[in-house]
């Protein structure tokens, strides 16, 4: 059973459907007991960092998450990945969950090619930096779908994969059993489904 953390942000329809398509059991929940009983966790997220972190904190699930992440695989998606970092500079400075060493910074000022648009919206090739069981079913260079204006920075030791947006943009990270993808596997077609399948087998 996969527990998708429900803390009031984002649209979980596609995530639920894609797990269902893979024949995986999933529950959308904010219940600590259900999270403890699950064998893996997904932390979704869309919107602004500060607001999402405040909502997550308000559910009282942060200590549960910190404890459970040591015992079972956790996958943060998009803003959910960013929340795994130590801090973010999106509209001020906000503390994150601190699983991944590094910070979340605005993409625009760091781009080498200033004519590129922010948000990065669309399909980009995923370049594997460090081989990992998460990539068991994909090849180097497959395309994944991104929508984001901020990105994970100074996280070299955790970086598993990057995409080129005139600079290498953090695509996937890992620290212990905690994983994160900046792209949306549930929106990345067959490639995304294969990544979710690999996560379900970690």
């Amino acid at each position: 059973m996969i527990a998708i953390l429900d803390y009031g942000v984002g649209n979980l329809f596609s995530l639920r459907s894609s797990l269902q398509q893979l024949g995986l059991q999933a529950v959308v929940t904010a219940d600590a007991a259900a999270i403890r009983a699950a064998d893996r966790l997904i932390l979704p997220g869309v919107g602004a960092f500060g607001d999402a972190m405040a909502k997550l904190t308000a559910t009282g699930l942060v200590p549960v998450l910190k404890d459970q992440a040591e015992q079972k695989p956790l996958l943060g998606i998009c803003l959910g990945m960013q929340l795994l970092f130590e801090k973010s500079y999106e509209y001020g400075e906000h503390a994150g969950l601190g699983f991944i060493k590094g910070e979340v910074c605005p993409l625009g000022p760091d781009l080498a090619d200033k004519s590129l648009k922010v948000p990065q919206m669309g399909w980009n090739a995923l370049h594997i930096v460090k081989d990992d069981p998460l990539f068991r079913y994909i090849r180097e260079g497959e395309y994944v779908y991104y929508v984001h204006s901020y990105y994970g920075k100074n996280c070299t030791e955790s970086t598993l994969a990057v995409s080129d947006y005139s600079i290498p943009v953090t695509g996937a990270v890992r620290a212990g059993r905690v994983y994160g993808t900046q792209f949306h596997p549930e929106k990345s077609g067959d490639t995304g489904l294969r990544i979710l399948k690999a996560f379900s087998e970690l």
């Binding site: 649209n11 329809f13 991104y146 080129d164």
Partner: protein
């Protein structure tokens, strides 16, 4: 690097896909769910569904189709048609849409753009604009291209981009259905004014039209309907052609 996107558009009325020429003479083409599967398998980067139904029954049918498509196709889905309120955003997002396209609804109530962006994020709000030349000016049209609003299109689009629209779908009424190429002059004018992704719509007739389109700076995606529906151009064939000619594509 980020790829250019190829987007088939499905206009749905009473549960069926239709496509008009110059917004008139609509004829039935196929079943939307079946078509979505075919396009997904062919490598479409995104799908756009427009609900052009007027009836209550047709609207319920559309929501049902959307739920079925979103339940099995995992690429971005944009939904438009009849989006006038935040409740309309909510209705289609709950059925699995990722982005919502607003057109006449925003012209009636421009506040809908910032309100939707605030609630769902800029990335969710697509401004769809039907634009036509009138007395040497780009004018925005409402009601499916039937009504001249008198508004300057470039000012309108810039305003929306500054107030929460995350993407623009620019449909040239002048070139729509003519199949003689995209309206590059109009697209260039818009690209010079905004820095959010631009989807070009109206006028695609052959693969060379897309190649020419993507040589223009600031255009992120090409959208078409009839040429794909009538199998005059295959999506995979188009993407392979573009890729071979130096335009990065997801293949």
């Amino acid at each position: 690097m980020i790829t250019k996107r190829i987007i088939p558009c499905l206009d749905v009325r009473d549960g069926r896909v239709v496509k008009g020429t110059n917004f008139e003479g609509i004829k039935d083409v196929a079943d939307p769910v079946e078509m979505a599967r075919l396009y997904n398998a062919a490598g479409a980067d995104e799908l756009v569904f427009y609900d052009i139904t007027a009836s209550f029954e047709g609207r319920a049918l559309f929501t049902d189709i959307l739920t079925r498509v979103a339940g099995e196709i995992f690429i971005p889905l944009t939904v438009g048609g009849g989006i006038n309120t935040l409740e309309d955003f909510d209705r289609v997002l709950k059925c699995g849409a990722d982005k919502v396209s607003v057109n006449s609804g925003a012209l009636k109530d421009p506040g809908l753009i910032p309100a939707a962006a605030q609630r769902y994020g800029d990335q969710c709000v697509v401004l769809s604009a039907d634009v036509k030349r009138v007395n040497g000016q780009f004018r925005v049209f409402a009601k499916g291209g039937r009504e001249d609003t008198g508004r300057d299109a470039l000012d309108w689009i810039s305003w929306c981009a500054a107030h929460g629209a995350g993407e623009i779908c620019l449909n040239s009424i002048d070139t729509d259905g003519v199949r003689n190429g995209f309206d590059l002059e109009m697209l260039d004018a818009v690209a010079a004014r905004v820095n959010i992704p631009i989807i070009a719509s109206g006028g695609a007739g052959k693969k060379e039209d897309f190649l020419e389109l993507f040589h223009h700076k600031g255009i992120d995606a090409g959208l078409a309907a009839g040429i794909f529906h009538q199998k005059l151009l295959g999506i995979r064939e188009l993407k392979e052609y573009l890729n071979a000619n130096g335009v990065e594509m997801r293949l």
